[in-house]
């Protein structure tokens, strides 16, 4: 561990000595491509673990899957090596079907297959998640910064009370209260999802975002306060910079570093939130679909949904990692110099 730290700091110095920022940028692009390519083995490993768990469930439909699809390339390979019908060949068949036929398997011969069922649901879940994350950042960060700049005054106290209150509330409570007040009492918005009505997305998004806003606002506030105490802020003021640029340019960018690094975890949290919210507001999304699959024990659908959720999460994590490198030059250099090491660590964690 210590050797690794030593090496990476050496690497930073080397990169610095070159003083070649375009080179760094190129390497960062390469890092992003490598990270994306690494999705493939990571997904395979996750698939294998989940497949194993589900395969050995009593009465698993995975175990009942035939190894022959009836005349494709894999079938001829299987016949030529006279493959036995076991766990491994079934796993190979499962993966092959996903790649070659975009087929996540069917529990009953009559079902239309997972992809045609959920393409539209993915859109709904992604819409909720992205608007939720967007609202979280757009509202949470300015709220936290505002509270930090008004530290100890009435505005700060109000924000603190509200954020503590909101982060203590689970999304299902918020959903019920919002539905009763806004939909039932005030009849401003529809209670359940109506596909044609974009207003139907408002309450689910608000419910998802509220918890996120609370935690992002608290994080932004504390990190802004910490940055404002740093000697370099005083040094920047002493150079005659206008207060606006000290706060909005320098302090803000530094304060965003911990917020962005926490974004990956926050997105996972919000994704869980969408499950509850989709069910409550009857939004036909991935979460409600998956809960339904669980209740009817449709193992193919469960596994398929899990894989899609994992891909969504991995993409979000990659985006937040890239953003992190964008605000933090130290991380950018590390991306440029040590991709292999970082990836291994992240795949493990």
């Amino acid at each position: 561990m210590s050797a690794r730290v030593g090496m990476s700091s050496d690497a930073e110095k080397r990169a610095g000595k070159k003083g070649n920022r375009t080179g760094v940028r190129l390497k960062v692009a390469r890092y992003i491509i490598k990270r994306t390519l690494l999705f493939i083995p990571a997904i395979l490993v996750i698939l294998f673990i989940l497949y194993t768990l589900i395969y050995f469930l009593p009465g698993s439909r995975m175990a009942m899957m035939p190894i022959s699809r009836g005349g494709d390339a894999l079938d001829s390979l299987f016949t030529s090596i006279s493959a036995p019908d076991n766990f491994f060949t079934k796993f190979v068949r499962y993966i092959y079907n996903i790649i070659a036929h975009r087929d996540f398997g069917r529990s009953t011969p009559s079902s239309a297959g997972l992809m045609s069922d959920i393409a539209y649901r993915i859109k709904n879940t992604l819409l909720l998640l992205l608007t939720g994350v967007g609202a979280t950042i757009v509202v949470g960060v300015p709220l936290g910064i505002y509270a930090a700049l008004r530290k100890g005054r009435a505005a700060d106290r109000v924000v603190s009370v509200i954020t503590v209150f909101l982060s203590a509330l689970p999304p299902y409570t918020v959903a019920i209260v919002l539905a009763i007040v806004i939909c039932v009492r005030l009849s401003l918005l529809p209670v359940t999802h109506v596909a044609s009505d974009p207003k139907a997305y408002i309450l689910p998004t608000v419910t998802i975002a509220l918890g996120g806003i609370a935690s992002v606002a608290r994080m932004a506030r504390s990190s802004m306060l910490e940055v404002l105490e740093q000697p370099y802020i005083t040094a920047l003021r002493s150079k005659g910079l206008p207060e606006r640029s000290v706060i909005l340019k320098h302090a803000l960018k530094n304060a965003m570093i911990p917020v962005i690094s926490a974004l990956g975890g926050l997105i996972a949290q919000l994704l869980c939130g969408t499950f509850v919210v989709e069910n409550f507001f009857m939004v036909p999304g991935l979460g409600s679909f998956m809960l339904n699959s669980l209740s009817v024990r449709d193992h193919f659908e469960i596994l398929g949904c899990a894989v899609i959720l994992i891909i969504i999460l991995m993409c979000m994590n990659l985006v937040s990692d890239i953003l992190y490198g964008f605000v933090n030059p130290k991380i950018r250099l590390r991306y440029a110099e040590k991709p292999a090491r970082r990836k291994r660590k992240e795949a493990a964690g």
Binding site: A235, K239, G240, N328, K330
Partner: protein
């Protein structure tokens, strides 16, 4: 004070009084101190840790934040009171008229912007007519003046890629970018090792002469004082206890505190086996300053009157003053003069 040369006084601090509101009560950091810096002069502000040197310098530029409270006094810069200016008014003075370099160069740069962007931004903030290219060119010239060999490349670096000595040079360059009339140097060499210290002081001395700039040099190192200061103010517990030219302070120091401080400077010729000397006792608690002299609890010559009343400021020679009862007695009647 120098009544004879009031005209060329650049900075005139009068009865500046700063305290901190803490849980345990008011902490008096700076107690009605007065000093003046003339144009082109280097004034040293010397004292032990916690004697109020830094706080007094921060208040000149309005950099103090709550819980610090300025209770009174005036800071006249070119005859204009600059204490308690709004952020906007203060920004017009900072960098352009008075600028400052800080104790710990490693933590005084924004880590997420390059050195170059921080330097050009300083130029642009203080000189609205400058273009980006001019600002960059001026930054590079200035970096060359502080003996940086590869300024163009350094501009693209981040602060964490540079050593402390390099950063302190960059900080000096940044402070002098807009040709200030006064530079406040707050222990600029404390965080550096000794060989780098010497180089930094040489650079400061050279640039101070070249630009004919006044300097307020805050330090606890008498070696540096002897090296660059024209005049010295000695601070103890938030009071200025003695003021005078560097020669006055070194050759005829009048206050027991100054004398003891001088004795505490380690000498080359003392054997290594001997422990380093120190002033007995602890600095007086700034939340509970007594009626008497701030140094009376540690002063080897303290008498009853030292504990009861504040000593008056006594003029010993033109420009040389000390606040001590020993000297006051000496001034009023030639009795009880200690042989120190």
């Amino acid at each position: 004070m120098d009544k004879d040369s009031m005209s060329d006084i650049l900075l005139d601090v009068r009865e500046l009084d700063v305290s901190f509101d803490t849980h345990t009560g008011k902490l008096h950091a700076v107690n009605k101190i007065s000093y003046a810096v003339r144009e082109g002069e280097v004034m040293g502000l010397v004292g032990e840790s916690g004697s109020g040197k830094t706080v007094s310098s921060y208040s000149i530029l309005g950099l103090l934040k709550p819980p610090a409270v300025i209770n009174g006094g005036r800071v006249l810069y070119k005859g204009r009171d600059i204490l308690g200016l709004s952020n906007k008014e203060a920004a017009a003075i900072r960098g352009r008229e008075i600028s400052m370099i800080f104790q710990n160069p490693m933590s005084c740069f924004d880590p997420v912007f390059t050195i170059g962007s921080q330097m050009t931004e300083t130029v642009l903030a203080n000189d609205k007519t400058a273009s980006k290219a001019e600002a960059a060119a001026r930054s590079i010239d200035m970096l060359r003046e502080v003996s940086i060999r590869n300024p163009g490349q350094l501009m693209r670096r981040y602060s964490y890629e540079l050593s402390g000595g390099m950063l302190q040079r960059v900080m000096i360059a940044m402070a002098l970018l807009c040709k200030p009339k006064l530079l406040i140097a707050d222990e600029p060499t404390t965080a550096l090792d000794v060989t780098i210290q010497a180089a930094i002081i040489q650079i400061l001395k050279k640039l101070q002469k070249q630009h004919n700039m006044a300097m307020l040099y805050i330090t606890h190192n008498f070696g540096i004082v002897a090296e660059i200061c024209d005049r010295v103010s000695v601070m103890c517990g938030g009071y200025i206890v003695e003021q005078g030219s560097t020669d006055d302070i070194f050759y005829s120091s009048a206050h027991p505190y100054t004398q003891l401080l001088m004795k505490m400077v380690p000498r080359m010729d003392t054997p290594l086996s001997e422990p380093l000397p120190y002033i007995e006792g602890l600095p007086s608690d700034p939340t509970a300053l007594g009626e008497g002299c701030v140094f009376c609890t540690r002063c080897p010559y303290s008498r009853d009157i030292c504990r009861e009343k504040k000593p008056p400021e006594v003029s010993l020679a033109p420009g040389h003053t000390a606040s001590c009862w020993l000297r006051a007695d000496n001034a009023s009647a030639e009795s009880g003069r200690p042989s120190v």
